[in-house]
Amino acid sequence: MNLTPLLAVAAPSANPASNWITLGLFIMFVATTVAGALIAVNTVRIIRSVSGLALACVGLAGLFYFLHSPFLALMEILIYIGAVCVTIIFGVMLAEPDEPAPETHKRPYPVIAPLVAVVIAAGIFGGLAKLALGHKWEAPVAKINDGSVAAIGTSLLSTYSMAFELISLVLLVAILGALVIARGGRTKE
């Protein structure tokens, strides 16, 4: 199975326009991620918020593809959009999740509270971005594998086999626990 990225490793000598097309795709994926994250936290209706999360996951899958990990891009779409978002939508259907109308007269600080949240979030973003941009990231001298799907499979079944088994156990316990918790009180009504 040859899933090596075709776009990200396009030879520079091929076509001078191909580089800019690749860059445009990259910027599109970054914009998708950013827009999806903003939709996910800023809309009032929760179903739009879930759609924003799905949009952000599509963008993230594209970014994973640019990072030479197509397997993770596939998994991101399968697990996040196919499982997590759909499960949250089921939760939306079973509960009544819309944000309540803001009761302006009862809240003590109607202007200050959102401002504080924006300032804290901007501070975190600014600080982390400054750290990331200020550091000189150096490529490793030698790589012990190429990060391909075959290398992932080999490590998953040798070095990380114990963690692999444990994560399946965690998932089993989580499914059983979710069944037990959600079942409680069903017969009462």
């Binding site: 860059l23 952000a56 959102p114």
Partner: protein, 108 residues
């Protein structure tokens, strides 16, 4: 840092991951329902995953390790969503609401 090879540098991925983390924390502070807070938590998970892959691609000598860490992270996130949603449904059955402000037994 040249513009034409923007996608071959770790900086832009790390900045996007920082943005996702900041939006997730903003959402955790601003959202008033449990499902909204759960979605913000997923954004934080996604930001951690992007950081893992970016650093393992550009800095780590073992590029497969970061991808495997993200696979495990996705498994943990899926388990977290399953448990959290079942708790939310149980809470909704008891309180008829999942607005976090109303979920208090005591005054205050």
């Amino acid at each position: 840092m040249t513009l034409a090879h923007l996608y071959e540098q770790p900086d832009v991925y790390l900045v996007v991951a920082a943005f996702l983390l900041a939006t997730g924390i903003f959402g955790l502070m601003r959202r008033r329902t449990l499902i909204g807070m759960l979605i913000s938590g997923e954004l934080i998970f996604a930001s951690a995953g992007l950081n893992f892959v970016a650093l393992s691609r550009f800095v780590s000598p073992d590029p497969a390790a970061g991808q495997i860490a993200v696979l495990f992270l996705m498994g943990i996130a899926a388990a977290e969503v399953a448990i959290a949603l079942s708790i939310i449904i149980a809470v909704y059955r008891n309180y008829r609401s999942i607005v976090s402000k109303e979920l208090s037994e005591m005054k205050g």
